[in-house]
């Protein structure tokens, strides 16, 4: 900014003001009304200019982040986190990602009601003229066989169906993919305040991957190890998921495709119940 120039200008104005005030005293005491009136006006002009310069030079926080980003609603925190992980994620992971990447707390207690609210919102939207649905919904992941909601996992409605279905190997596959995505993001935010928390998160996730040294959570190493393990298990998982997706498209209506089948038994606390 032109802070050097403004500082110089301010000094000039204050100096001019000082001499104008001195002259004003002389004119007033000597009874020169005309001169005094003129000087009064000059002083007023100079004071306003001084005030303006002072206001201008006070540090204005450069607004590179919009106020929207400075504390976004829970729903959008979740959406943002899921876009980063790119795979069905647990509430814990969503919370950790949000804290590490954006330094914000997620009220996890509200997450279960969020899932419920989303379903309700979608259902209502279907009843409105023109079926005005939202651009994206937070939805549960579904089991690949019975299409029931997987407890504690959330996904985005805009993802392909196969990605939202959980087959036997899926939790591990998804965790590995998310770890890769987070490791890449950690590299992208190198040099910022988010670097350390992201590195710690990546290290924690990477610790479970064979081939990654304990406390050796360097992003490249984690990515390589994760990809190595994926090469072994991913193909089977993709096959199972896409077959399940085909079945889902054939059998399910729009609501179930998004939110899963509801377990209609009254006593849902049966031991070993799905969901």
């Amino acid at each position: 900014m032109a802070s050097m120039e403004s500082a110089q200008e301010l000094i000039e104005v204050v100096t001019a003001l000082r001499s104008a005030n001195d002259a004003l005293i002389k004119a007033t005491t000597s009874g020169d009304v005309v001169e005094a009136t003129r000087l009064l006006q000059d002083v007023a002009v100079l004071e306003r200019r001084r005030n303006r310069l002072v206001h201008k030079s006070s540090p204005e926080i450069a607004r590179t982040t919009s106020s929207y980003e400075s504390s976004i609603p829970l729903r959008d925190q979740v959406i943002q986190a899921l876009q980063l992980t790119g795979r069905p994620s647990s509430a814990r992971l969503v919370s950790d990602v949000t804290k590490s990447r954006w330094a914000e707390r997620v009220d996890t207690a509200k997450l279960s009601s969020l899932r419920r609210d989303e379903a309700r919102s979608w259902r209502r939207s279907q009843e409105l003229p023109g079926r005005q649905a939202r651009d994206v919904y937070v939805v549960p992941a579904l089991t690949y066989d019975r299409f029931t909601p997987v407890r504690g996992t959330i996904a985005l409605s805009t993802w392909p169906t196969s990605l939202r279905l959980i087959a036997p190997l899926s939790p591990r596959v998804d965790m590995l993919h998310s770890t890769v995505a987070l490791a890449e993001e950690a590299s992208a935010v190198a040099g910022t305040n988010y670097e350390s928390p992201m590195m710690r998160l990546v290290a924690r996730l990477g610790a479970t991957i064979p081939g990654v040294k304990p406390f050796g959570g360097e992003p490249h190493a984690v990515i390589e190890a994760a990809r190595a393990e994926l090469r072994e298990i991913e193909e089977t998982d993709e096959l199972e998921r896409s077959e399940a997706a085909e079945r889902a498209h054939a059998q399910l209506d729009a609501e179930v495709l998004l939110f899963g089948t509801q377990i209609r038994t009254v006593t849902s606390r049966v031991a070993g119940g799905s969901g």
Binding site: S66, S67, Y68, E69, S70, S71, I72, P73, L74, R75, D76, I79, Q80, Q83, S113, D117, R120, S121, R123, R124, S125, E127, L128, P129, G130, Q132, A133, R134, D135, V136, L156, T158, W159, P160, T161, S242, H249
Partner: protein, 389 residues
């Protein structure tokens, strides 16, 4: 009249309200299908204040110079017993206005006669007085007031009745109501800025429709309201008033259809989590922390209302907020109605691109159609890049 607040009242909570005006109603219909706006408009939430609170910057939306010029032009036009209007009406509407007997129903004009009446009570009073005056004007044209200024009428919006500020002049002459609008943008060489002119016409239609409804309320026919309206504008760059007349019947009918398809606000609020409400607006001089907290709470409440981001959103006080939200959601709507329309039910930008480039299987027939169209676009670009002339 029950004491329990309805869903709209509950949602608005202690956030300031403001009666709607035609500009706001017309603006709402430019961005149709937005449940967020519908709920806020039906609840008569002060949208400018909400916009400033959420964006964190107190913004004046109009320059003081533009306001002054507008006021000056209006003063000139209504001076000397509305001499200019009388003359223009004679020339352009073929209307002979005898001596103007005007009544001012603005809140400021009524404050003296009705001390202590504020807020909703004032709106009710103004609406009641408007109704009475209208009845008198039609029953006894020779002696009653023949011009009401700053009337307050009502409008059905999203299943709710909202108060509407009438910024037009409504003359009752010869058993009919004639609407005159005063605007301060210029008419240069016989043409006014088409964007401003069409906005004015849409707004006048709102006033006319509301007046028609008032007629029904007092047992008169809606066609008492003359749909040929007069708009007074400065000629070229001077302050000399000129006028255009326009038959807004078509616009009034379109407006009626649009209003009919506004979803029920009560239904919209039925779908949001119980207890969602706007915060109170911090008082003047509140600290940055207080404002930030209120802003956060407001954003949280708004998130429950589904928006519909389109090109028409630019004039809404919430524009930046909803745009940033659409951007975070990576939705095709962020790119405008043309792109969103071309992508149909595919609302996610990455999904649309993946479909175009064959990286994603269409889930149904409509996705397949979108994929095919976009794929052509992508392929054509690739061909061009490959050096084809």
């Amino acid at each position: 009249m029950t004491n329990a607040p309805g869903p709209l009242e509950s949602f608005r909570g202690e956030f300031p309200r403001q009666p709607l005006n035609a500009r706001r109603v017309a603006g709402a219909l430019e961005a149709p299908g937005c449940q967020r706006r519908t709920a806020l408009d039906a609840a008569a939430v002060n949208l400018d204040k909400l916009g400033s609170l959420i964006s964190g910057t107190p913004t004046d939306r109009q320059s003081p110079f533009a306001l002054t010029r507008g006021n000056q032009f209006e003063q000139q036009v209504v001076a000397n017993g509305m001499a200019e209007i009388v003359s223009l009406a004679r020339r352009h509407l073929n209307l002979e206005i005898p001596e103007v007997r005007q009544h001012d129903l603005s809140a400021s004009a009524l404050q003296e006669a009705y001390p202590g009446v504020t807020g909703t009570k004032m709106n009710e009073l103004r609406a009641r007085l408007t109704r009475q005056r209208a009845e008198e004007m039609l029953a006894d044209p020779a002696h009653a007031y023949n011009l009401i200024r700053h009337a307050m009428t009502r409008l059905d919006f999203g299943g709710e009745t909202v108060y509407l500020e009438q910024d037009v002049l409504a003359f009752a002459i010869g058993g009919r109501i004639h609407v005159v609008e005063i605007k301060s943008y210029p008419r240069i060489d016989g043409r006014a800025d088409p964007t401003k002119a069409s906005a004015t016409v849409r707004q006048t239609a709102v006033y006319a429709l509301s007046l028609q409804q008032l007629m029904l309320e007092i047992g008169a026919q809606p066609d008492v309201v003359n749909t040929t309206t007069m708009i007074v504008l400065p000629e070229n760059l001077s302050f000399r008033p000129t006028a255009v007349t326009i038959d807004i019947d078509m616009y009034v009918r379109r407006l009626r259809r649009q209003l009919a398809s506004v979803p029920r606000a009560a239904e919209i609020l039925d779908a949001i989590p119980a207890g969602t409400r706007l915060p109170a607006h911090p008082p003047n001089g509140a600290g940055a922390d207080e404002l930030a907290a209120a802003g956060t709470a407001a954003r949280e409440a708004l998130a429950a209302l589904p928006p519909r981001f389109t090109d028409g959103c630019v004039s809404c006080p919430l524009f930046h907020h909803c745009r940033d939200e659409a951007e975070l959601h990576r939705s095709t709507a962020r790119l405008g109605s043309a792109v969103a329309g071309a992508c149909g039910n595919v609302t996610d930008i990455a999904a649309a691109i993946d479909l175009a480039e064959g990286r994603r299987e269409p889930a149904d027939a409509s996705e397949a159609a979108v994929a095919a169209t976009l794929a052509r676009g992508a392929a054509a670009a690739r061909l061009a890049a490959g050096g084809l002339a």
